[in-house]
């Protein structure tokens, strides 16, 4: 059969591989969750007349503001290709330590009774230090981020319990409550803060070298190194910012509730990851946008709100919530069309 066939001279109809139609869906992928949010609003309105009231929706936003800051932090850390489970402990421990250092022992303080205005900077500093310590273990000791931050989750939670002695802290300085308590132009200040930080995050991650380097490091750390990016510095910075954001989230939550519970943040990390992944952040790094993550937070918040309004039996609440989150993941997997890693 070895007959030489002459080269095919027919006009080429096959487009060279890599050519795509001019319409770019990539731009719309970010908006994939918008229809889901609309559907949830409609479903909520049909199920319960109080759902679409300003009061309820503002409540949703305010309740989600602390979670959204954790998601903002986790999204940036995931994009950089790392992991931080300890955020859910930082959100409780940072405010507890700060408050315990300034209140008298009668209010479960540590006895130091430092000036009250120190509470805010102390809280943020604690978050930064926890992030920096995570970075130290992950980068200098080259440990897996997953297991390091799991260990830190437990350790920091333990510190929270130890420092507070298992008590809720009530005598919170006014300066500390301010951010979570005030409203501005009819919206809780905490919602403005979350929104503003998300906008800053989106701008930095889209239009700044420092932000784009997160994607480079998470996408291919060796290529980023070879392009002159100081990858360790980037990862460390992101972990520290993550800790600070978690501490800030703790402040907002304290202001909203008027006290710090002994279990503040407990179990939140699951919601954080669920929101991030529903929002299209890849667990393998290098992929996803903060806008997507924000949509993920809203989807999750609306689902939870609808569940509460429909007065599901409290004992079944978690099971239903879990199932709905899994469904949301399946749906987001189908709408984005790509396998989740």
């Amino acid at each position: 059969m070895t007959e030489t066939l002459s080269p095919d001279t027919g006009a080429s109809t096959a487009p060279a591989s890599g050519r795509r139609p001019p319409l770019r869906f990539a731009r719309f992928r970010d908006l994939a969750l918008v229809p889901a949010i609309v559907i949830l609003l409609v479903v909520g309105a049909l199920l319960d007349p109080t759902f679409l009231t300003t009061g309820n929706l503002l409540g949703v936003l305010q309740q989600q503001s602390a979670l959204s800051l954790l998601v903002l932090a986790e999204a940036m850390i995931l994009i950089t290709g790392k992991f931080d489970l300890s955020l859910e402990s930082t959100i409780g421990f940072a405010p507890v330590l700060a408050i315990a250092l300034v209140v008298p022992t009668s209010a479960h303080g540590l006895g130091t009774e430092w000036a009250a205005w120190l509470a805010v900077p102390l809280c943020l500093l604690t978050g930064a230090l926890i992030g920096a310590f995570n970075g130290l273990l992950i980068l200098k000791f080259q440990l897996s981020a997953f297991i390091v931050t799991l260990g830190m989750l437990i350790t920091v939670r333990g510190l929270h319990e130890g420092v507070s002695g298992g008590n809720s802290l009530f005598q919170i300085p006014q300066s500390f409550m301010f951010l979570g308590f005030e409203t501005w132009l009819g919206l809780p200040l905490s919602v403005w803060i979350s929104l503003a930080l998300f906008v800053v995050g989106m701008v930095v991650l889209s239009y700044f070298r420092q932000g784009r380097s997160l994607y480079a490091v998470g996408g291919n750390v060796d290529a980023a190194k070879a392009a002159g990016i100081r990858t360790n510095k980037v990862i460390w910075t992101v972990l520290i910012i993550g800790g600070v954001l978690a501490a800030l989230a703790g402040m907002l939550e304290t202001g909203r509730l008027g006290a710090i519970g002994a279990n503040l943040g407990d179990g939140m990390i699951f919601d954080v990851f669920a929101a991030a992944v529903i929002g299209g952040i890849s667990l393998n790094g290098g992929k996803g946008t903060l806008f997507g993550a924000l949509c993920g937070v809203l989807v999750l918040g609306l689902i939870l709100n609808i569940l509460r309004l429909t007065a599901v039996d409290g004992h079944w609440f978690n099971a239903i919530k879990g199932v709905i989150i899994l469904l949301a993941l399946v749906l987001s997997r189908l709408t984005t069309g790509k396998a989740q890693e």
């Binding site: 059969m1 066939l5 080429s12 890599g18 291919n220 290529a223």
Partner: protein, 506 residues
Amino acid sequence: MMSAVNHPAASEGLAAVARNVTKRYGRTVALDDVGIEIKDGESHALVGRNGAGKSTLVSILTGLQAADSGEVSFFGKPAPALSDREGWRRNVACVYQRSTIMPALSVAENLFINRQGKRLISWSKMRRQAGELLEPFGVDVDVNTPASDLTVEQRQLVEIARALSVGARFIILDEPTAQLDGPAIERLFERLRALQDTGITFMFISHHLEEIYEVCQTVTVFRDARHILTAPVAELGRAELVDAMTGEPGGLTVPGAADRPDVSQDSEVALNVENLTGDSFSDVSLRIRRGEVIGFAGSASSGKHQLAETVYGLRKPSSGVIEVDGRKVKPGSVLDALKHGIGCVPRDRHHQGLVLGLSIAENAAMTVMNKLGPAGLVPPKQLAGVGSKAIESYDIVTSGADQPVSDLSGGNQQKVVMARALASDPKVLVLINPTAGVDVKSKESLLGVVDRVARTGTAVIVVSDELDDLRVCDRVLVMFHGEVAHEFGRDWTEQDLVAAIEGVSE
């Protein structure tokens, strides 16, 4: 078009046949009504440029993907269902460029993965059988060692041995020589010929046309998702083969150094390396003038890659000095190398060259992100500008600067890496295997870029295993065991150079 016109009794004596196979990915046609017939016991080469459809055909012939239409058969029987992995494994095996060995498992377990038997695993029996299996291949390793310790050559032999032990009589080799040095390639070819004598059939994919003439009997050329020709290797000249691959007469025109004017002796020294010692090389000194292209040749163990990576700061030297334009570069710092005007195409584009998920523009601009706007601002316009300039200057085939690099063919990806290295207008350009795994046309255009930047006064280092890459060089230094052993001018001959690389010249 190449269906068996003069063989009505079709599949007699044919190891593998694909007929009228079409495969689309979305709007992209990856294979357009192609066919291939591989005779029992032959070595059949499949060649074509990146994006010609070779990889798609391999995944269809190995049952990893189903064709949209068309048929595949082995030894006269239709191919098994896609879900019948066992059935496919008995018919065909493929040694990919990327390993299918599980690095953490022992060699023995890799050989018997998923067929350890129905009862409890007898480790001693498995080890004995593994030893017996590997014996004829001369793989001199303990079967208990983890597979990650194997050399590339041993790894390939283990994969071939595993395929044969499953019962496959047809083996696809996808660029098996890409990561091997000269002697290892020779040993592999000897092994292939011996296996062929025992009746094993091979399909061989390579960008090195010389290798096809050395080991194959028949060659099939694909271009732009179509079958172009199938012919006995002996009847097809090299020029005709290249013409068929590129679709244009004229063949490969690699720019030679002789076309450039001589680099004058009083031209400034751009890069000065003094007594540099580091990983796998020692006491290397060299001076490269502006506009000069220096080649580094040598075997895989010669230290040439390590030397180049040290110049760019990817590795830290233990002693010695690197200067650009007379100013010292901080050792082991890529950032400082970039600041002083050194650009680099790293050894492996997947490993260090590209962030696959990001766009062309973003990859190309990665080394100059801090120069696009104030305070690290990256204005989208400027970013897109870097991207479209790269696409234009290095003629990257793409739908636009915002296309992710993962969508591009290998040759075009490599052009993006080149764009990244040149984005900062470096005074010194370090290229490590710049044309590895790219097709002839892309090779031509990449080497054209080297010629172009040298004319504008950039000093270039080309480290390569491919002699074609070295033709563009004004001087070629041959490294042997970590030292510069020989130096050639522009007028080197292949024989002299190869002899020096192998360390057999006097």
